[in-house]
């Protein structure tokens, strides 16, 4: 996969000199007479730089191209020349691999080419080389930009003092503190993503009356210690690292991505220092571990590098490899450094002092790394890898599968037998290693006689390949292998600059390294025998790095206040926006680093400030001056995000399962493919009845569940620092009509009826559950009137086929899950008794509360 830039191109002169020595005059003569003309005549049309074609990722117009081979592997077998793929192709020995595909070459040409392979395929052709001129970028001048300079310690000693200064300058004053219930709802959502429960409301109100400060501090500490803290803040982080459980495009499922999700949650819960977190993400496999548990976590952490979006139908392996590296560079630099380095892939960065050479210096680090995302071949998936085999096996994760392994082995044997029968025992050419026998060319007359078509042969070969792949995921005792996505060291090599990012236009090699604009005195030296990922992590997490801490504290500030300090969250470069207060940003960044990169410590400091605890009261005069609330004169009312809204609904309905699921629906689906763009998918997911927290819903690229996608959950194509906040009718339709919300409303009604016999009590407790406050008299009266008058009537009978609604547009479910039980369509509703009129009325009221603005907002 990565051998294509193995050779070094120090200069054109040097490489030419080498090649002239390497080929004898006789060979040169033979090549020019018998080989080159025929390659041009028969092959270049589809396999040359000149024609811009590299079918199967193969170039035949340079020695390097021929040596590298294409997506089907190496062209030459150095030990047994007659088994070379090249010979196979030109002789048309393999029915699935005949080149040129339309017309066989004349026999004498084939003989000459075969003879040439026998000689060892001597080849004088050089790949054209390029030289990129030195960048004209003035890096020293570029360093003057504010974000490339180290944070300066502000004179002010607290968040409130700095913000007080901003307010004075703006001519606004803070609106005063929030009341107990507003504050409780806000802090509980902010730290755990859940609302407070009625008993928590009662207890906090009481404690708050006694001592406001102590009550709030205790609450903060209690919430920070809750396991739900890691779920909330881990999910924020998953936006940054573009966590997803399928590849997008072809949309192959990543069944093992969830391990990384759980690792992130655990890391936030144990308040893993941020520098360590990043180091594990980039180079966990290179860290020494005292025991298997730590080793396991460190390996899973590198899943960060593997779980990005991929186009596995890319046929050119070099293009795929460079796109993978680009995706990694983009996520690392925007996510960790707020810098858009990817712009420099094709040309020097137009605005920031980042020359193309810097991009390829960083690319070399990832090029020296093997990224392992797994997935299995077939179904247009040309890009698969192995996975990391973890040191500690999953316990109790799999069902009893003792028969499965044997069944599959038997199935494979049957397929192979059938294949042999179809091809005829004597029809095929002799086998040449694994997989070859199945592909051997049968006698064409024999096929015709038996009415077997070529495509039957192709199909059975695919079934064999698939079953072989499936077996690789099982231990012989039937248990599942404990795999993870991740990264490991590859062949250590530098990258060459590619002109305009074109894999065919290879310019000079650049040493692996970091961005020149960030000149750190403690930058580590890159080792010659390792990729340099560990050193990259050290460089990013150095306290001298002016970006890392600033970028992260800006993220934390956003999630607690709704207003970032730097609005362009993932771009602190010259095209980004300046901070609303560099003083505040630097204060937080320095505190963060000095606390040992403790995220919990920083959050605690922010939420204990007076600024955080302000009321959200509107003030016309202040609003006129500072509508975006950049000076934090009040707490900004915030719309709940997708996860918090759904979690709240499940909490108030009593259906929420607070425990972490063992894995993910994506894991249950196994190695499969989702409904792709053309509806040819194999797997769909019904999430309406899932009761776990929202962050455990399957995060499927291009196919997010509605309860996430409709409510601004980002499709994880890349780092997302700040989600959009929209307010559109499709969201209201979901709240009005979706099965998910209806189930919650009915469950909430049942819960209230079971606990409270009197209608009035049911109503007042509905408000307490939904809004975390007592209902007003007017609200109770109005609700009672609603309950008395409401009549659901006769709901319309709906012919699904008559509607342009769900179900018609998506590929029908054709389960091919590994457990073979997804063939049964999932029930769309739980079998329930018809609702009593009282329950139906109360459910309508509960649903109304769930739809209302107060339920959907943090004040």
């Amino acid at each position: 996969m990565r051998s294509f830039i193995l050779f070094s191109l120090l200069s054109v002169f040097l490489t030419n000199a080498q090649s002239e020595e390497a080929i004898s005059p006789e060979h040169l003569d033979y090549f020019e007479t018998h080989v080159r003309p025929n390659l041009i005549k028969y092959c270049y049309e589809c396999h040359s730089v000149e024609q811009g074609e590299s079918r199967g990722g193969l170039y035949l117009d340079t020695r390097e191209g021929m040596r590298e081979g294409g997506s089907t592997g190496s062209l030459f077998d150095d030990e047994n020349w007659e088994y070379s793929l090249f010979v196979d192709a030109v002789t048309w020995n393999d029915p699935d691999f005949e080149m040129p595909p339309k017309q066989k070459m004349p026999d004498d040409v084939i003989a000459k080419l075969t003879e040439w392979v026998k000689m060892g395929a001597p080849d004088p052709r050089e790949r054209e080389t390029f030289e990129v001129e030195d960048s004209g970028i003035d890096i020293e001048k570029g360093r003057e930009h504010w974000s490339y300079q180290k944070p300066a310690r502000p004179a002010e000693k607290s968040i409130d003092a700095i913000i007080g200064g901003m307010q004075t300058e703006m001519g606004v004053t803070p609106v005063g503190s929030a009341d107990a219930l507003t504050l409780l709802r806000r802090i509980t959502f902010d730290l755990t993503g859940l609302p407070p429960t009625p008993p928590e409301v009662v207890a906090f109100t009481k404690a708050f009356k006694v001592n406001r400060e102590a009550a709030f501090t205790d609450k903060v500490d209690q919430l920070l210690a809750s396991e739900h803290y890691g779920e909330r803040w881990g999910r924020h982080w998953l936006d940054v690292v573009r966590y997803g459980e399928s590849s997008g495009t072809l949309n192959i499922v990543y069944p093992y991505a969830w391990r990384f999700r759980n690792y992130v949650i655990d890391s936030f819960n144990e308040d893993k220092p941020y520098d360590q977190l990043l180091t594990e993400h980039l180079a966990g496999d290179l860290l020494s571990a005292p025991n298997d548990e730590t080793r396991q976590k460190n390996l899973i952490a590198t899943g960060f590098l593997a779980l990005g979006p991929k186009k596995q139908n890319e046929k050119n392996p070099q293009v795929f490899a460079m796109n993978l590296i680009d995706e990694q560079i983009d996520t690392v630099t925007r996510g960790f450094l707020g810098t858009t380095v990817s712009c420099a892939r094709c040309h020097d960065h137009k605005f920031d002092p980042i020359p193309t050479a810097d991009y390829y210096a960083m690319a070399g680090i990832f090029q020296s790394t093997d990224t392992l995302w797994g997935t299995i071949a077939g179904n247009q998936n040309h890009r698969t890898t192995e996975l990391l085999d973890l040191p500690i096996a999953d316990a109790g994760l799999s069902e009893d599968q003792s028969n499965l392994y044997e069944e599959k082995v038997q199935h494979l044997a049957d397929l192979r037998e059938k294949n042999r029968e179809m091809r005829g025992m004597t029809g095929g050419k002799g086998g040449k290693g694994k997989g070859k026998a199945e592909g051997a060319a049968p006698d064409k007359d024999m096929l015709e006689e038996n009415g077997i078509e070529q495509r039957d042969l192709v199909r059975i070969r695919q079934q064999i390949m698939r079953t072989e792949s499936e077996l690789e995921f099982l231990n012989p005792d039937g248990s599942e292998k404990t795999f993870a996505m991740g990264a490991q060291e590859g062949t250590v090599e530098n990258s060459n600059i590619l002109i305009a990012g074109d894999v065919n236009k290879i310019a000079q090699e650049v040493d692996r390294g970091f961005l020149q604009v960030l000149d750190l005195t403690d930058a580590p030296e890159l080792p010659t025998d390792e990729s340099g990922r560990l050193e990259l992590a050290q460089w990013i997490t150095s306290t001298q790095n002016p970006l890392t801490a600033r970028v992260m504290v800006n993220r934390i500030w956003l999630h607690l206040t709704g207003s970032p300090i730097v609005e362009t969250m993932d771009n602190f470069g010259t095209t980004g926006l300046p901070p609303t207060s560099l003083e505040l940003l630097d204060f937080l960044a320095i505190r963060f680093m000095e606390s040992g990169w403790s995220i919990k410590t920083l959050i605690r400091e922010i939420v204990l400030s007076e600024t955080y605890q302000l009321a959200s009261t509107y003030d016309e005069a202040h609003y006129a001056k500072d509508p975006a609330n950049t000076t934090h004169w009040r707490a900004k009312p915030r719309q709940l995000d997708a996860e918090a809204l759904r979690d709240q609904m499940l909490l108030v309905s009593g259906l929420l399962d607070r425990t972490r699921p063992e894995s993910s629906m994506a894991y249950e689906a196994g190695n499969s493919r989702l409904g792709g763009r053309r509806g040819e998918g194999e797997e769909t997911f019904n999430t309406a009845l899932f009761r776990g927290r929202s962050l455990y819903l399957p995060v499927l690229r291009d196919a997010l569940p509605d309860e996430l996608g409709l409510f601004d959950f980002p499709d994880p194509q890349g780092t997302v620092g700040q989600r959009s906040t929209t307010n559109v009718a499709p969201q209201s339709l979901h709240l009005m009509n979706s099965e998910l919300v209806q189930v919650q409303a009915e469950a909430m009604a049942n819960l209230l009826q079971n606990r409270f016999p009197a209608m009035k009590e049911q109503v007042s407790n509905a408000f307490l559950l939904a809004y975390n406050r007592a209902a007003t008299t007017m609200e109770i009266d109005h609700s009672m009137q609603f309950l008395r008058e409401f009549d659901p009537g006769e709901p319309p009978v709906i012919e699904p086929a008559a509607l342009p609604g769900p179900g018609r547009d998506r590929g029908a479910m054709k389960g091919k899950g590994k457990k073979g039980k997804r063939n049964e369509p999932a029930p769309t509703t739980e079998p329930t008794e018809p609702l009593s009129p009282e329950t139906a009325k109360l459910a309508a009221l509960c649903q109304a509360l769930m739809m209302s603005a107060e339920f959907r907002t943090i004040h």
């Binding site: 095209t575 509107y618 499709p730 009005m736 009509n737 547009d809 603005a853 107060e854």
Partner: protein, 450 residues
Amino acid sequence: MFQNAFTRRGALQTLTTGLGGIAMTALTEERALAAKTGPLAAKQPHFAPRAKNVIYLSMRGAPSHVDTFDYKPQLTKDSGKPGKYGGRDLMGSPFEFNQHGESGLWISELFPNVAQHADDLCLINSMHGDSSNHQPAVTAMHTGSVNFIRPSMGAWALYGLGTENTNVPGYVVLGGGQKGDYSSAFLPAYYQATMIGGDNPTAGPPRVPNIRNTKMDADAQRKQLDFVQWLNRNQLERDVHSPETEGMIQSTELAYHMQTSMPELLDYESETPDTLESYGIGGESESFGKHCLLARRMVERGVRFVEIVHGNWDHHDKLKENLTQTCGETDGPIAALLQDLKDRDMLKDTLILWGGEFGRTATGEGDGRGHNSRGFTTWMAGGGAKGGMRYGATDEHGNEAVENKMHIHDWHATIMHLLGLNHKKLTYRYAGRDFRLTDVHGNVAQDIVA
């Protein structure tokens, strides 16, 4: 001002509320009237408009202008010569250009069907912008700003003109894209776009999830929503000022009406077989054709601004093959849309916009072209734009706009002008200053107004 011209549409706009077997209650009728005075009610433009509605065909990835609508014979002559625009050689268009219509506009062979409407097209050959990176440039085409979060031109149009039919969204995007480009930003939330159908080009109408309630009838749901809105209005009173709460009130109301209006609107399969075929539905252009037909149905029902997104125009390599492909996917449906609107006498009131976020280089990049924001082409049709016209020009190779230059701000100003809005007067006060789509820029290209 439009009473007579829009009888058919007027009928459709009323009709949709009554379809689907759900009876209109007296209450809903009152509500519909009330909405006529709300923030989305139809408003008087600043002056007599030429267009009432907009259909924006947004070609993402930046189509090459010199291979489509900007004829450059000199570039063909100089093909292969070193360009003066950087190290690469000039690359002539591999496509043939011909003159079309009475106006004799030069259009490349890639758009044979659109070319038949040459006399309706106003080619703007002198577009230019500030960014040659896709996402910022797409954002600029929508909001006028590369970096800041600003309202989209669809949101501005809706803010300025309101909607004629409160039962359907006033601003719709078909075909996906980034929400930030369709946002209302600091304008009230109900001016943002409703995205329908994503970019999933499967058969059948786009999916609007949860379009029906299975638990209660329409009267009951109306009572339930009345209760919700009562809660929301109380909330708004407590908030005093809250665009978010107001947005929820409006989107809840719209959602209720969409339950009846959208299935009817999206049911394009009720069109005649000839119409379906003309849009390429059932053939290679299914996805885009479907969106074009839906756009017509939307405009007919009073949707103010419809945007259709079509991707894959970023032809860094294999220009000949790839551009043929993308033009082939869009040529037929666009021509069908123009013809259909003409047949229904709607083109004169509907402004069609076509274009990418920038253009491409005159020099070759292998067998493709690079990014170029210095000069590119968009076109307009209908809605008061002068037909059969070529406005502005690039230099002899198409590298840079040189004559009657039209910056994206000018383009926005002109679009607003055709809608009867003075871009300098269409302002919204935020953070102590009056914002507008064109910031402090923008000149109306009076020459193109018919």
